[in-house]
Structure formats: C-alpha cells, structure tokens
Amino acid sequence: MNRQQGEQPVLISLPPAMATSSQFTRQLGCIRPLMKPQLFIQPQISRRSITSAFTPKPEPVPFPTTIPEQFLSQIPDRFRPHAPKKLKIYPPPPSAHAKCKDPIATVTESQLAVLDPTGERRALFDYRRSARSVKVGDILRVTFKNGDPFSGVCLSIKLRGIDTSFLLRNELTRVGVEMSVKAFSPNVESVEIVKRTEKRKRRARLYYMRKPKHDMRSVENIVSNYLRQKSALTGQRSANRKKR
C-alpha cells in the first residue's frame, strides 16, 4: 500500500527516471499526507471552539396567567388556574351485614324460639354443652304427634342447628329398622330417655352396631319394662292409657 501511494506522484512528476528515483520519492512520499489541505484547516478544532463558549441557561418563560377558557382543556391540570374539581364521595348507608354477621344463626334462633321456646329440646341433644343430654348408645323413645311411638338405641346425633337429628335403631318383626328423627320437628311430641348406656361409648357414631356381632337386636323388652315402672310411679291413669 505504502509503496503504491509513494509511486503515484513520481509517475506524474518524473516519468523518465522511474526506477532510479524510487528511493528518493518514497522518502518524499512520507511527508505527502501532511500536505493535505484538511490538516492545515483543522475544521474540527475551529468548530469546537465556537460551541464550547459559555451560554447561560435561558430564563424560563413564565406560564401565561390569563388563558382564554377555550384553551384550558388543552393544557395539563397543574397549569390550570383552578384546581381540578374534587369529587364528592358520599358515605354508605347503614349496613345490614354489620348488623347481622351470621344470618344462618339468626334464622335458626328465630325458628327455635317458635319450635322450642323453653330450650328443653335443645339441652336434650346438645351433648357438647349439657351433661344431662342424650348420648349415643342411650335407648330413646319418641312419641310423634299422630300418636305412634318409636323406640330404639341411639346410633348418632347430628348437631346441625334447626336440622339437628338423631338415628334410632330397633328390630321390628325380626327385621332391623332404623329411623332418623329431626329433633326440632313439630311432629315430634316427646323424646324420653329409657335407659342410659352403661359405659360411655368411645365413638360418636355407633354404626358398628349394625353388624351382627354388635347388634343389640330388639329393645322392646327394655322399653316395656320402663313403661311399667313409669306407670307405677306416675299413677294408674297413664298405665290405663298405655294398655289401650
């Protein structure tokens, strides 16, 4: 490259003695780039000298205070003479939810006030709170409003508020019979405990008693015994009624 650049001016200036003068012209060729016009003018430096002159930051032009109203919508909120209109937030009305947090309990209470005003039935089945309540394994006798009784051993008590129910198991005509009774149903006239369980049962649901090994079979004997004793204690009248 260098060589070619060096030879070019020789071709123009000294065409006849090309080969002999190559050494000499090559040396001259070294200074040739210095003779380029750009180097002498140095435009970069001159331009820089102009821009680097200190110019003070222009004073901010104050925002015009009086703007015709039709232009106000075009400028940002913060430049408008009046602050943006504040929204009026209305307070909420009184809350029914705050008043009645547990509506199911409210409904249950209002129902129980009608169905069980004395709270007797509630205490009879709330085995978690009242000690004298029915326990699983007890033998119960239920009398319904239409007159027919049902007795059996209590297999389970489901505490479900108004839908509280218990499951009785007995044997009628040598066939096992179970009946689930809603404790607060208006059809249930009375629930009596015929016989308490001898030992506290260690299960909440005595479904194992359906198996032949554990089946209690009929509880009619125990119930009739209880009725006889009861009639002896209370008097002849009720006994007469039972015999009929």
Binding site: C100, I104, K182
Partner: protein
C-alpha cells in the same frame, strides 16, 4: 363571479338585539349555502315512509314489544348467598329447605332509558367499596348520582319507565313479599377443567375388553370421510365446567326480615356461599301486587 347569497338567506345585522333572526324570517333554512344547489333535494329517508306501514320485525321498537310480556315491572335486587337452612311449618310439621340471602346496602345507582340507551333498566349497586380502590371514572359516576361507591353493580331490565325507582333509593328486604315468587340468577360453582363424563354425562369406555388408558375419555369426535372428515362445531368435549350463569326460576319467598336484610327463598340457588345472587320477580308467575311494599320502603328510608 363570486357566489351570491339569495335574498332570503341574508343574515340580518345584529343591531336588532336579542331578537332571534329565525323568528323574523318566516320558516327559512338558516344554514348558509354556497355554490351549486341541487334542484332535486335528497329524500329524508331512503325507505318507504308513510303513516300506515307495519312495524318492522328487526327494529328496536319491535324487539321491545316482543319482550314486553316477559320483562318484569319492578327492578330486582342484589343479594349475597349466606347458606342454607330449613323452616318447619308449625301446623303441618313439614320441613321446607330454604336458602338465606342477605341484602346489604342495596341502592339504585342509575337508570337506563329508552331514549338514551334503547331500553329501560335500573342499575342497582350493593355493598360498599373503599373509594381508594375505585377508579376515578367510576367514582365520578357514583358521586354524580349521589351514591356511595358500590362493591357490586348490576342492571335489572324493567318494562317501562314506571319501573324506574328513583336514584339513591334503598331497596330493603321488604322489596319482596312473603309468598311471592322470584327468579334467582347467579354463577354456579366452578368445577375447573372437567372431563366429558363429569361435564356432559358421557358413558365413558369399558373397563376392559382391550381398552387401555382411555376409560373416561370420549369415543369418536365425529364421522369420517362421509361426514366431511371434520369435528362439527359444538362438539361436547372436556373443558372448564361450572362458574357460568344459571337462573333458578319460581322460588317462593318464605320469609322476609327487613331489620337484618334477610330474604329466605324456598330451595337452593346456584353458587357457593358468599356469591352474588340477583333476585327479581318471577317472569313465569303473575306479577305481585306491590302497592303496600313500596309504601313500606318509603317510610323506612
């Protein structure tokens, strides 16, 4: 030559004062028109216009007329499902299962009218939302109507403007009467991505007889070349089940408790506990006579 105004269209000078030039010029078009005017002005409507034409079936008027029989007269309310319980009838001893719904600060938020929106409806809101969590646009809507920000907002269509309850009015539980029938509309419980057996009740495939790994999947998705070698649109397949709107119609209102905002309806309604239920007068029963109810609401508010 520059265009000239015709004599009748020259505007009068404003020195006449407050008198509107329209009143002075007898029934002239006040729009200034320049240039060439058509000798045959275009007809106002390109359709056949005359007084005794039948109402077209595809117009909004016809649509409203068709809907008139099934649109309730009164707005509905937004309630929250609180759970299920039962009521014992003291006389018969019958147990009636019921769903407990609670109305919490149910208020009329806005109206939709025939003139502006094309139909009549009442926008009802319930609950309360902290203004911090409400967008500015919605806040403006609430504050413009003079109501507090609402948690739930729904629209209830009504037949005509007589059903538009004034904005801001509280709708209490006595909006419904005991013994009347309502429709309950809500989203059902979501079941997630369910297979065809659960979602559409398909029979599934055999336990054995050479079936492997596809005991609960659907069989064929469609016919072969004779049927176009494609799956027809609407083919029942596995997918998301539940969490879609469901309406339970003709639920009897068993009990109304204004103080606690409770409405007890017979039977069950769709959705989990705590979901939003919209109840409105049943469209398949005669509309209830509610003259007393509206009075009662007015006195209580």
């Amino acid at each position: 030559m520059p265009p000239r105004l015709s004599g009748s269209l020259i505007q009068l000078p404003f020195s006449l004062g407050a008198v509107n030039p329209q009143y002075i010029l007898p029934a002239t078009n006040s729009i200034r028109t320049f240039g060439i005017r058509s000798l045959n002005p275009p007809k106002p409507s390109r359709f056949n216009v005359s007084p005794n034409l039948p109402v077209l079936k595809s117009t909004p008027t016809a649509a409203l007329e068709r809907k008139a029989a099934t649109l309730p007269l009164r707005t509905g309310v937004i309630a929250i499902k609180k759970g299920m319980s039962a009521i014992f009838d003291p006389e018969t001893g019958k147990r009636i299962p019921c769903t407990v719904l609670q109305l919490d600060r149910v208020q009329v938020v806005a109206h939709k009218t025939r003139d502006v929106h094309g139909y009549y409806a009442v926008q009802v809101g319930s609950g309360w939302k902290h203004p911090k969590n409400v967008t500015k646009a919605l806040l403006g809507h609430y504050s413009g109507q003079g109501v507090s920000p609402k948690r739930h907002v729904y629209e209830f269509r009504v037949k005509d403007e007589s059903g538009l309850v004034p904005v801001g009015k509280l709708l209490n539980a006595n909006w419904f009467q005991e013994g009347q029938y309502v429709d309950a509309r809500s989203n059902s419980k979501g079941k997630g991505f369910a297979g065809v057996m659960k979602r559409h009740g398909f029979g599934g495939q055999d336990r054995s007889h050479g079936v492997s790994l596809t005991h609960r999947s659907l069989g064929s998705a469609g016919p072969s070349q004779g049927g176009g070698s494609r799956v027809y649109p609407g083919k029942k397949m596995a997918g998301n089940m539940g969490n879609e709107q469901n309406t339970v119609q003709n639920l009897k209102v068993l009990k109304v408790d204004v103080e606690n905002g409770l409405v007890l309806v017979n039977g069950s309604v769709s959705g989990p506990r705590g979901c939003v239920i919209r109840i409105q007068d049943a469209i398949k029963k005669p509309w209830p006579t509610f003259a007393e109810t509206t009075e009662a609401t007015e006195t209580s508010t």
